[in-house]
């Protein structure tokens, strides 16, 4: 604290911290962050290393970089893990859930945010309470009910469950987004003779695009990574999503680390690539979604 009272560059009369202290602090900060980042990323790096080694090399060198790259592990994992089928299934689960969620959730959120029919407050309370009910409270009766209705072991059955479970989050996020939109445009459209559906599709929908993107990312990530419901509701391997099939795969080839590591990279590759492409939306969306649920 040497230069007390000096006029700082930001214009206030602030005591400036010494430049040396500042740079020492920055070194400390970066050192800490590099350590923590290593903790987050190194395990992934080891996974990537092992995915291109032979099992013999993993036995001698389980953590370090490979001495030679064996890309065949990927082809072998792709085939033996039947990833062509299960990754396709996961894409279906994700796309179907997002589509249904955005259409139905968008309509509901529009009505709740912009039209507020009588009973809206009660309904928001319902979704608030429902979002705190743990899945364990209703999973057993739901399972029995789905068995009775023939929805067990069907892809659309699982999608229905996903859509329902993500409904409160979708409504909270989209509603809070739509509620801030200015009302003049809608009124103008109504004066021009637009009906409710047209007001929704032509005015509110385009203005709420970022909200829909957020919901799509949060719901899509959740479904891609979902394990428990898929394990419980889908028993036919031809309908497994990538998570449960990978689980059985690691069980079957538990000694073949090269193969399972390559499989693991295949499972996470689409998500990590999408995350790196849309970092900001992902991080902000998940942060928002985490607080809203």
């Amino acid at each position: 604290m040497s230069a007390v009272g000096k006029i700082s560059l930001r214009g206030g009369l602030l005591p400036r911290r010494g430049a040396r202290e500042r740079s020492r602090l920055l070194v400390f900060n970066h050192a800490v962050l590099i350590l923590l980042t290593a903790f987050a990323v190194m395990p992934l790096l080891v996974l990537a290393f092992n995915s291109v080694k032979t099992n013999a090399e993993i036995g001698l060198n389980p953590l370090g970089p490979p001495t030679q790259v064996i890309a065949e592990n990927y082809a072998s994992a792709w085939e033996r893990g039947d990833f062509a089928t299960t990754m396709g299934n996961s894409v279906v689960y994700v796309v179907a859930t997002i589509a249904a969620e955005l259409v139905l959730g968008g309509l509901a959120a529009y009505a709740l945010a912009r039209r507020k029919p009588p009973g809206s407050d009660m309904l928001m309370l319902y979704f608030l309470v429902a979002s705190t009910v743990p899945v364990w409270m209703y999973i057993v009766p739901l399972f029995v009910q789905f068995r009775a209705w023939g929805l067990l072991n069907t892809m659309h059955g699982l999608v229905i469950v996903y859509v329902a479970m993500n409904a409160p989050l979708t409504i909270f996020l989209l509603r809070s987004y739509m509620i801030d939109l200015p009302g003049e445009l809608e009124d103008a459209a109504r004066v021009d003779g637009a009906n409710e559906f047209q007001v929704f599709t032509r005015i509110v929908l385009p203005l709420s695009k970022p909200g829909f993107l957020t919901v799509g990312l949060v719901v899509g990530l959740g479904v891609w990574n979902e394990f428990f419901l898929a394990l419980t509701f889908i028993h036919d391997p031809s309908m497994f999503p990538i998570t449960t099939s990978f689980y059985k795969f690691t069980d079957r080839f538990s000694r073949d680390w090269a193969l399972t590591s390559a499989g693991a990279i295949i499972v996470i590759f689409p998500i990590v690539a999408l995350f790196l492409a849309l970092q900001r939306q992902f991080i902000e969306g998940l942060a928002e979604g985490g607080v809203k649920t």
């Binding site: 953590l63 364990w136 859509v163």
Partner: protein
């Protein structure tokens, strides 16, 4: 003014015959509710109705196929007074909770405070630290099962360079299994907490920090009197959420040990899963689901009460 003379409110039949009223009603009530109905219906069928059924089911001896007999609170009596494994499950849930209410919070508070102060590479750190959170639990489990293996994992590598004692089967020992799984789950989770705290810190008006500097606050005082109050609401809210989630914990435990060895990493949810889906003790499993929900409701109640007392949550 003929309209003013007619003060009697219109009867329902009269309103119904008024085309203007019918139109307004359609526009402001019926159409909006038609927009809401599809999602609401799906949610009621999948969540609300089964939740109520679950309470009833927990009072029966149903096995999922034959007829159910109403047995009152028998399932709960067995759970709390006879099922030793369930008692251990609750204890494990409490250990899990004490882990997750401390370790990830300390890590996330520390890391976000450090990250909030720097400008260069801030985005890079943020993204890399967040990557574990987007990974599927099955993959995270595979990564760490290998890294914690006694012969080929980190422990073995450390033993090679002279740091002995860590090359043990972390997931295969009763004393270490549960906390090893918590460590793995936390590797995946804490970055999420960090991002939430960081976002809250970045929303604090810089003027507050300037004011603190004028008052001659040092870094610690700045953190204690500006940063901490600014992020307090989200920290307390996440305290509540993490406490609730601690009673729902299932996937990492099921994937890595299925509750073993010898029940040492069993929690309520793994018991429930085994009872309801592998042993078809549906009624008994439903009772465990109700118990989990009661714990969750209890935690929410504590926070609602604190809020009533003027806590800023």
């Amino acid at each position: 003014m003929a309209l003013l003379a007619n003060k009697r409110p219109a009867t329902f039949a009269e309103r119904l015959s008024d085309p203007g009223w019918r139109n307004r009603c359609l526009r402001n009530v019926i159409v909006p509710w038609l927009f809401i109905l599809p999602l609401l219906l799906i949610h009621v069928v999948v969540v609300a109705v089964p939740a109520v059924q679950g309470v009833y089911m927990s009072l029966t001896d149903w096995t999922g196929f034959r007829e159910a007999n109403f047995i009152g609170l028998e399932n709960y009596r067995v759970l709390f007074f006879e099922d030793e494994a369930f008692a251990e499950g609750i204890r494990n849930n409490l250990s899990w909770m004490s882990f997750f209410l401390t370790v990830p919070f300390i890590l996330a508070l520390f890391c976000s405070s450090v990250l909030a102060q720097i400008k260069r590479f801030g985005m890079v750190y943020r993204s890399l630290l967040f990557i574990p959170y987007v990974l599927a639990s099955v993959v995270t489990a595979t990564i760490w099962r290998n890294l914690l293996s006694p012969r080929k994992g980190i422990g073995a590598a450390l033993a090679d360079i002279g740091i002995a004692g860590l090359d043990i089967p972390w997931l295969g020992r009763q004393e270490t299994a549960l906390m090893s799984i918590a460590f793995i789950d936390n590797w995946h989770f804490w970055g999420f907490l960090m991002i939430l705290f960081l976002a809250a810190m970045q929303a604090i008006p810089p003027a507050l920090y300037d004011a603190a500097k004028i008052d001659g606050a040092n870094r610690w005082q700045e953190w204690r009197h500006v940063t901490l109050p600014g992020i307090r609401p989200i920290v307390l809210f996440m305290f509540m959420m993490v406490a609730i989630w601690s009673f729902l914990a299932w996937d990492y435990i099921w994937i890595l040990t299925q509750g073993g060895p010898a029940g040492s990493s069993d929690v309520i949810a793994t018991h429930l899963y085994r009872n309801a889906f592998l042993r078809s003790l549906s009624g008994y499993g439903a009772a465990q689901g109700v118990v989990i929900s009661i714990f969750a409701g209890f935690i929410i109640m504590i926070f609602v009460m604190l809020r009533r007392r003027g806590w800023d949550i």
